[in-house]
Amino acid sequence: MASKLKTLVAGLFEDRRKWRGIVGFSMTAVATLISLGALFSILGYLIIHGIGALDLNFFIKEPAAVGDPGGGIAPSLLGTAILVTISTIIGAPLGVGVGIYLSEIAGDTLFARVTRVAINTFIGVPSIVIGIFVYFILVKPTNTFSAVAGGLALGIIMIPIMARTTEDVLRLVPDSIREAGLALGAPKWRVTFDLVLPAARAGVITGGVLAVARVAGETAPLILTALGNEYYPSSLFKPIDEITLRILKYARGPYDVWHQQAYGAALILVFGVAIGSLLLRLATRDYNAPDR
């Protein structure tokens, strides 16, 4: 009798563990299906609703009058390229410079600690706050929304991101490389630029590309700085259009034509960034540290 009870209890215990496993792991499977499902439904909607918008007009024409067909989003494509270029010119050197400072030059001084805290703080500052800043120092004084203002806002956003990735990547470069350079009599600046940076090149570029991808998707600061334009950009000191601004405008409107073009623009944006990141992964694979 007692032994039967024991086997019963033992059996129950073992079953409980099995059931825990079944329940637990099926939950994880469901979660994975949800995650993948979300991705595929978003991409699916973009493709189904957006592919119809991708004709030649879409890529080379300016927007038509409200509600009229036949227009395109060409100004926003060009505008995005211009804004990203300006922001990279502003943000990349400064970001990499600060990264070099934090990794190669900074000692345990107050200045170094303040810099590190500042970077860590501003990496999380909402981009809209940066938009407010640029509105007051550039848009209001010059009496115009402009590409320069938009690029500046995006560039400022890039700085802490690039500083952090650059610092992380430079720290990974083994000290032996630095010591070898110093042992050969090279000055510190040579060691940094000719030995350490090239060794970390892939990481720095990756960091740069990630920062650019992040910044290409930023909309909020542009509302307050670039404003938007229905025409091809003719000046850096006038309002300029950008892909995400156009998507925002068209998604919020009631026109079916607008909705379709918003989906189409979103499609271009997502696949552009995805393909770019895939190429980046493939290109930098050889330089990575040993795979886990």
Binding site: G24, A38, L39, I42, P126, V129, A213, G217, T244, V270
Partner: protein
């Protein structure tokens, strides 16, 4: 640059400094002035925000943070609903994304065969490359109308009569949409960071657990999770930080409400989205200043969360001796 080997380090250092000290000095000056410029920008941002918020701060004081009411006509502004909204949306999304993301990471590391793990992770990480405005597009044109016609109507008719929290008008846009969309945005972050943390759990510890008779699920729950706790908590905290600053996707899906939420279907605003939606069209200087005050509060919340996060992660590392 000299290539001759030299015996005494101090002498060689002098020799090196003497010959190329100028290069190094230029290098130091260049880099340090870049850092100064960047710090100046950050200080500038803080100054501009505080200056802009000052009139509202003087007029409404700290009460601004705990009072409700947003009346541009009578110039009465209180940001409490936005603060509450920011917290509800950010935490709600973090918890939802955290739960689903963590479970997904477990599935990927424990259940999936090796050849499937990398592609599936890559696919989920693709979600990270979708810009905020595209999530907003999806939320506004697809998710919100769907919620409106199905979930919200069901909640209202079946649970509404008995529970006040479900007794709201089904608009589609609102807290529900915003939290769901934001959770989607946080998902890739949680999945990839949790996965990295879980992968680091040494196989022998897990095997030890199995050898002692634990089931595979018990190993996950009782061994992997505690070991990977730092990484997982770090993932959650990082996603919370991201959620707090998210502007556009929330602005497009949260509906725009100025009152404290009473039902699940209510609309609201977060600090970031109210600024994005209203900045360009304020009707008075007080209004503008009130919005910038919101920006300052958001700034402060972000900084506080970052500091707390730093201490939490450090404390966790300290207690268990594990590295994050």
């Amino acid at each position: 640059m000299t290539t001759a080997a030299s015996p005494a380090p101090p002498a060689r250092t002098q020799q090196r400094e003497g010959r190329s000290g100028r290069g190094d000095r230029i290098y130091h000056v260049l880099i340090q002035s870049m850092v100064c410029l960047v710090l100046a920008i950050f200080v500038g941002i803080f100054v501009v925000v505080v200056t802009g918020a000052w009139p509202a701060m003087k007029r409404f004081g700290l009460g601004f943070v705990i009072h409700s009411g947003w009346d541009p006509v009578h110039l009465v502004f209180g940001a409490f609903p936005f603060v509450v909204g920011t917290i509800i949306v950010a935490f709600g999304a973090m918890i939802l994304a955290g739960g689903i993301g963590l479970m997904t990471a477990v599935c990927v590391t424990e259940l999936l065969p090796h050849w499937l793990q990398e592609p599936v992770t890559y696919l989920i990480e693709l979600l990270a490359f979708i810009p905020s405005v595209v999530y907003g597009l999806f939320g506004l044109l697809v998710l919100a109308p769907m919620l409106q016609r199905t979930v919200e109507v069901w909640l209202l008719t079946h649970l509404g009569p008995r529970f006040a929290i479900f007794n709201g008008a089904p608009y589609g846009v609102g807290y529900l949409s915003a939290i769901l969309i934001l959770a989607l945005m946080l998902l890739p972050l949680i999945v990839s960071l949790s996965r990295e943390a879980l992968i680091l759990v040494p196989k022998d510890i897990k095997d030890g657990g199995l050898a002692l008779g634990a089931g595979r699920w018990d190993v996950v729950w009782g061994i992997s999770f505690p070991y990977a706790r730092n990484g997982i908590v770090g993932a959650f905290v990082l996603s919370l930080g991201r959620a707090l600053g998210e502007t556009i996707a929330v602005a497009m899906t949260i509906g725009g409400g100025y009152r404290l939420p009473t039902t699940v279907m209510d609309q609201g605003y977060t600090l970031a989205s109210v600024i994005a939606n209203e900045f360009n069209e304020v009707s008075s200087d007080t209004y503008l200043s009130a919005l910038i005050y919101c920006g300052l509060i958001l700034f402060v919340i972000t900084v506080v969360v970052n500091i707390l996060a730093y201490f939490i992660v450090r404390r966790l590392s300290g207690i268990h001796g594990f590295k994050a």
